[in-house]
Symmetry: C2
């Protein structure tokens, strides 16, 4: 399906202890962009692959393990990077080899997006320096310490800074990705994706019920 130039590729970063909904909320939103065609088949607009230090299963912080499809350095090209958060980020902010891979992966992405404490990881690569960003509210004090030169915005469901999008905690990643879909493919497609997910989309980035 990669042959269709209208299909964008999403690469989701996985690591031990990632939070499942941080990754799977965005994956579901992208996957829900599909329309039934006249011949009965589904037309898709995004495809997802998973990235990690090495291929194979990675245990989430919530029980189940997800398979990493490609090592960072051996992956085919992609358009959009998604970086989840989770308790695993507590160790990774001090893992120079991981941060180097993540920073280069972000450099190869047309758009980089983070969910929850994923912004702490991206901050540690330096790629958020001087830019507005947000994160999870419960871990806020720890996150902002990871990026002293980031212009952190506490009250925000998500922050859209063009090629860098950062969301608040867990479920906020769904709202952010639907907004990205609206920008890339039009609001009608984002609304259709939300309906396919039976999800009540919070369309207003400044409406943060948890700040």
């Amino acid at each position: 399906m990669a042959q269709d130039p209208a299909i964008r590729t999403v690469a989701v970063v996985l690591f031990e202890g990632f939070t499942v909904l941080d990754a799977y909320g965005p994956i579901q939103a992208f996957s829900s962009c599909r329309w039934r065609q006249a011949d009965g088949t589904q037309r898709r607009f995004f495809q997802t692959m998973t990235l990690g230090v090495r291929p194979g299963p990675v245990r989430s912080g919530d029980g189940p393990a997800t398979v990493v499809d490609h090592a960072f350095d051996d992956a085919p090209p992609w358009d959009i990077l998604v970086v989840p958060g989770g308790f695993g980020t507590r160790a990774l902010v001090n893992d120079a080899a991981f941060l180097d891979r993540l920073g280069r992966a972000s450099g190869r992405s047309a758009v980089t997006s983070t969910v929850c404490t994923g912004s702490a990881l991206l901050a540690r690569t330096g790629r958020l320096d001087g830019r507005p960003a947000t994160s999870n509210k419960i871990a806020w004090d720890w996150v902002v310490q990871q990026g002293p030169r980031v212009r952190w915005q506490r009250r925000a469901r998500w922050v859209d800074d063009g090629d860098m999008l950062t969301s608040s905690g867990v479920s906020a990643g769904i709202d952010m990705i639907l907004a990205l879909i609206a920008r890339l493919n039009g609001r009608d497609m984002a609304v259709a994706a939300a309906r396919n997910m039976e999800y009540v989309w919070n369309e207003d980035a400044s409406n943060d019920p948890f700040a």
Copy 2:
């Protein structure tokens, strides 16, 4: 962690072509029931394992593969069963061996819950006969054909029939599981879990924005 009698075990059924948020929304809700204890460690109240026809990776309908921890017949005991939906259900409603395993797994569960077209699978086992249930709205006509003796309720975010809970599409599974958590562990814990997920919980089963 299984030694703590206050921890319930959740078994999530996986199959080729499952919808990721149908499974991971409930997994996240259960996993978000955690409190920080005086010694700084997290206390959890639910643990999750995955069930399938055989152990190993199963490809979702949305790209990534999740690892099945246990085959149906070799799994340790559990309390709560979660059955997701997805395009994979279209073949499985005619797979007698799978339906036999699913029906017996439901029989071993204190509570069986389905998300989206997962209710079509459970209906095909006969375990919903004579009972109220709901499902995804987009696939509604197909689902109800799978259970002619089920008392289908179209307008419902979810239906709670005691030991059988069925939800509407995809995201509705999160609302249903938070309601189950409230019943089992008190509303305060469900509210805390929703806050940990930064999720705006729809607490009213009759409030179905997509019917």
